[in-house]
Amino acid sequence: MAEIAEAVGHDGALQVVMLRIGAETFALDAGMVREIIDPIPATRVAGARGHLASVVNVRGNVVPLADIRERFGMPPVAATRDTRFVVIEVAIEGDPVVVALIADKVFEVTEIHFDQRQAIPKIGTNWRPEYIKTIVKFGDDFVIIPDIERILN
């Protein structure tokens, strides 16, 4: 939670990129997003963990392609017109690592307000609590702020 607090402004607002994965809406801190690209052919890596099953070429670097659906118990889905790769930079054990994240749709860059923060319900979800930093009310909906570092590693 501390990392979020740093990025949050005085008014409790945070710049985020809103995206949809499966039926859920996620908000990623805009500071970690490098670029959003159209899907490109991926190369499967035999023996890799399920959520990091392939790699893609992003501007000359071979980066893992993360499909976090598996981590949230969602079934795999084929790419659609709306599918995008969100290239993010996260710190894994202190080193910056670039990862491309599959999103079913990317909406917008917007501000969310932390005074709308909700407690994570103990029941009513089969998500593992350590994958979620918090849940914020946005309009009439709820958005999930995921803990990407934990999800990936």
Partner: protein, 695 residues
């Protein structure tokens, strides 16, 4: 180079000079009569002393001065450059290095001990006369203009005059550029007694012609009191070359004709050059150094390097290599696209870019190439010391110093080669008494490098007793590495030497015998995508050969297809490709192949990589060699050779051991590079044994 901390500059410079000094001393050990070598060593010392004093390394300067003083007797031919003297000089050189690198933690006790030994060797020449500053080599310099190197004594020698001295001071005009402050020296003179200092302005040119950085002033100093000649000379100890000091006792100076100090003014060009010329030891080498009369061919002073070199941070070169790698990939994509077009203009541009980028790649790789001689030089000292400590006289021969290798490669080769050379001297070469068969008491270690195709072959060859296969085998059986009675070729037996903790040495010496080392050597070499081979002949010696790729950034690969996926196998590991016999298409329990009578086990990559879809009707077997065994890899198709720009895998894929990296293909997709060694052993050494048993 963004940071120009003068201390760092001094350290770099001193390190080079010390390397030069070491090489020269070792040469001197072999050719004690060479005056040129003595001069080179002396010059290196002198420069270290001068710049050491300039950058505040006073202990370095003081020690080097004493060292130089003792060494001067060798230069004058009064003391021969004996082996003992060379050994002590090497220790002295090491001590200077310690003083420079870690001045706070270096005890002067070592230095004193070294100096005592040095003084003892130069024939009991004690402090008194040894403290006299080095006499200049004056024969090369035109007399009357500049005394050459250092302090010119007036012929009017006499007892130290109690009345005082008349001192004529003329500095080298460049002294200010080198950072020396003559006024501070004058202050030091004042400390010796009451001084009357008169500047001489006759050499100062007109204002228009005045170079503010050149010192055109000279001074006449009358020093009263009982200061000794040595005390005065000590003031100028660190500017020895750059000052001409004329000392006349005061009573003698009564004569007006005595010692008019010639002006150092640039009155005429030839004269100016004559003043500049005898200062090749100046810390900032003047251009004149090249034409200095003392310059000798064959010396390796840093000043001798061609001036057109640039020091570049290694990181920048890495970055450049990355960019070029990306360019090569982008160009491959372009030519693939252009191949599909009918437009001749596009095609010709694409070909042009292909030509340019491949030349750019070669040039960039060339920049990173360093001759391996820089590495070989370091081992001379190692061999020298080991041969002394072990009492085994050894000739050390190097060949192919010009062979160029990637810089990173050279750095990482240093440790493995140290191990191999130690082993060769400690285990390979017999003691003089044991050496038979007309070999003579002196052993021979040859370190050679040569290009073999796209690889570099570095080998360490000794003329010792050779490996004892039976003994290695016995040891391997004892350690349970192999079942007794298993049929093994000699080459397979030698591979046990690379097993961790394996040693046949009966006794553990300080150097080797603990069985640590060869496994590390092997790991390092394989980490560099190289291979290691041992050849031996009983009684005639052993050769350890390292085969290394030229560079770490780009490799030649064999591109294969398995199912829908494409993979790269490093071409250096590939031995041959054969078609998979129809009989073997379905697995029959264990998979072997009979290749020219030899059993070769094989792995089905389709199974290993969980490939989907139908397999090709005519699958291929790529036979690879790793860790002394040959195994086959079954692929659906061999696509061909591929210039592979290596990209490392993400940290998140650290758990994937089968692949050592990735590359980007012409169509922009990524392909994985198969880690051959890992595939054979699966990270489990016992797998290798299984394969060995089979083979």
């Amino acid at each position: 180079m963004s940071s120009l901390d003068p201390i760092d500059v001094f350290r770099t410079e001193a390190a080079e000079l010390l390397d030069c000094l070491e090489a020269t001393l070792l040469d001197l050990g072999e050719k004690p009569d060479s005056g040129a070598l003595v001069d080179t060593a002396f010059r290196a010392l002198h420069t270290i002393k001068g710049s050491g004093a300039m950058f505040g390394f006073d202990t370095v300067a003081a020690f080097t001065h004493d060292f130089e003083t003792a060494f001067d007797l060798v230069r004058q031919g009064k003391v021969p450059a004996s082996v003992e003297l060379v050994n002590v000089s090497l220790s002295a050189k090491d001590y200077i290095r310690m003083l420079i690198e870690d001045p706070d933690n270096t005890s002067s006790i070592i230095g004193d001990a070294v100096l005592d030994e040095l003084r003892r060797l130069v024939g009991g020449v004690g402090h008194a006369s040894a403290a006299a500053p080095p006499a200049p080599r004056t024969e090369a310099a035109p007399t009357g203009v500049n005394g050459g190197a250092a302090l010119t004594h007036e012929p009017t020698q006499g007892a130290d005059a109690a009345a005082g001295w008349r001192i004529g001071l003329v500095f080298d005009p460049d002294i200010l550029r080198n950072g020396t402050n003559p006024l501070a020296l004058l202050d030091d003179l004042r400390d010796l007694g009451p001084c009357e200092i008169v500047p001489r302005l006759d050499a100062v040119p007109d204002l228009a012609a005045l170079d503010p950085e050149a010192l055109t002033l000279a001074w006449d100093v009358t020093l009263r009191g009982d200061a000794s000649r040595e005390a005065i000379e000590d003031v100028f100890i660190f500017v020895g070359d750059e000052v001409r000091l004329i000392l006349t006792p005061l009573d003698a100076a009564a004569s007006p004709e005595t010692a008019p100090v010639p002006a150092c003014a640039p009155a005429s060009e030839p004269e100016r050059q004559a003043v500049l010329a005898p200062t090749p030891q100046a810390p900032v080498p003047a251009e004149a150094a090249g034409s200095a009369p003392e310059a000798r061919p064959g010396t390796r002073r840093p000043e001798d390097r061609p001036s057109a070199t640039v020091r570049v941070e290694a990181g920048r070169l890495d970055e450049l290599m990355d960019r070029v790698g990306e360019l090569v990939i982008a160009q491959a994509r372009l030519s693939q696209l252009a191949g599909l077009q009918t437009d001749a203009g596009i095609k010709s541009i694409s070909e042009e870019i292909e030509r340019l980028s491949s030349r750019l790649r070669d040039t960039t790789m060339g920049i990173r190439m360093v001759p391996i001689g820089s590495l070989f030089g370091r081992f001379r000292r190692l061999v020298h010391d080991l041969s002394r400590d072990l009492g085994k006289p050894v000739d050390f021969v190097t060949e192919g110093e010009d062979t160029e290798l990637d810089k990173t490669m050279i750095e990482r080769l240093a440790d493995p080669l140290v191990h191999l050379i130690r082993n060769a001297i400690d285990h390979g070469i017999e003691s003089p008494a044991q050496r038979g068969g007309g070999k003579g008491p002196t052993g021979r270690i040859a370190l050679t490098a040569e290009h073999v195709g796209a690889q570099v072959l570095v080998s360490v060859r000794d003329d010792g007793a050779g490996l004892d296969a039976a003994r290695i085998r016995a040891k391997a059986e004892e350690k349970g590495l192999v079942a007794p009675g298993t049929p093994l070729t000699d080459q397979q037996i030698y591979q046990f030497l690379f097993a961790p903790g394996f040693s046949t040495a009966a006794t553990i010496s300080a150097l080797s015998g603990r069985g640590v080392g060869m496994d590390v050597v092997k790991k390092t070499i394989e980490g560099l995508r190289g291979s290691i081979d041992i050849a031996t002949e009983p009684g005639a010696g052993t050769t350890v050969s390292l085969r290394l790729p030229l560079t770490l950034a780009i490799i030649e690969g064999l591109l294969i297809r398995v199912g829908e996926g494409r993979y790269v196998i490093p071409l250096s590991a590939v031995e041959e490709c054969v078609e998979l016999p129809a009989l073997e298409r379905e697995t029959r329990g264990r998979d072997f192949l009979n290749i020219r009578g030899e059993l070769v086990p094989f792995l089905r990559l389709r199974t290993l990589f969980e490939a989907e879809g139908e397999s090709d009707p005519h699958q291929k077997v790529i036979v690879i060699a790793a860790g002394g065994v040959r195994i086959g890899l079954v692929a659906d198709q061999i696509i061909g050779n591929h210039q592979t720009v290596i990209k490392s895998l993400s940290k998140l894929h650290a758990d994937v051991a089968t692949f050592s990296g990735a590359t980007i293909l012409g169509d922009g997709t990524a392909a994985l590079i198969i880690d051959v060694g890992q595939l054979v052993t699966g990270g489990r050494p016992e797998r290798l044994q299984e394969f060995q048993e089979v083979a």
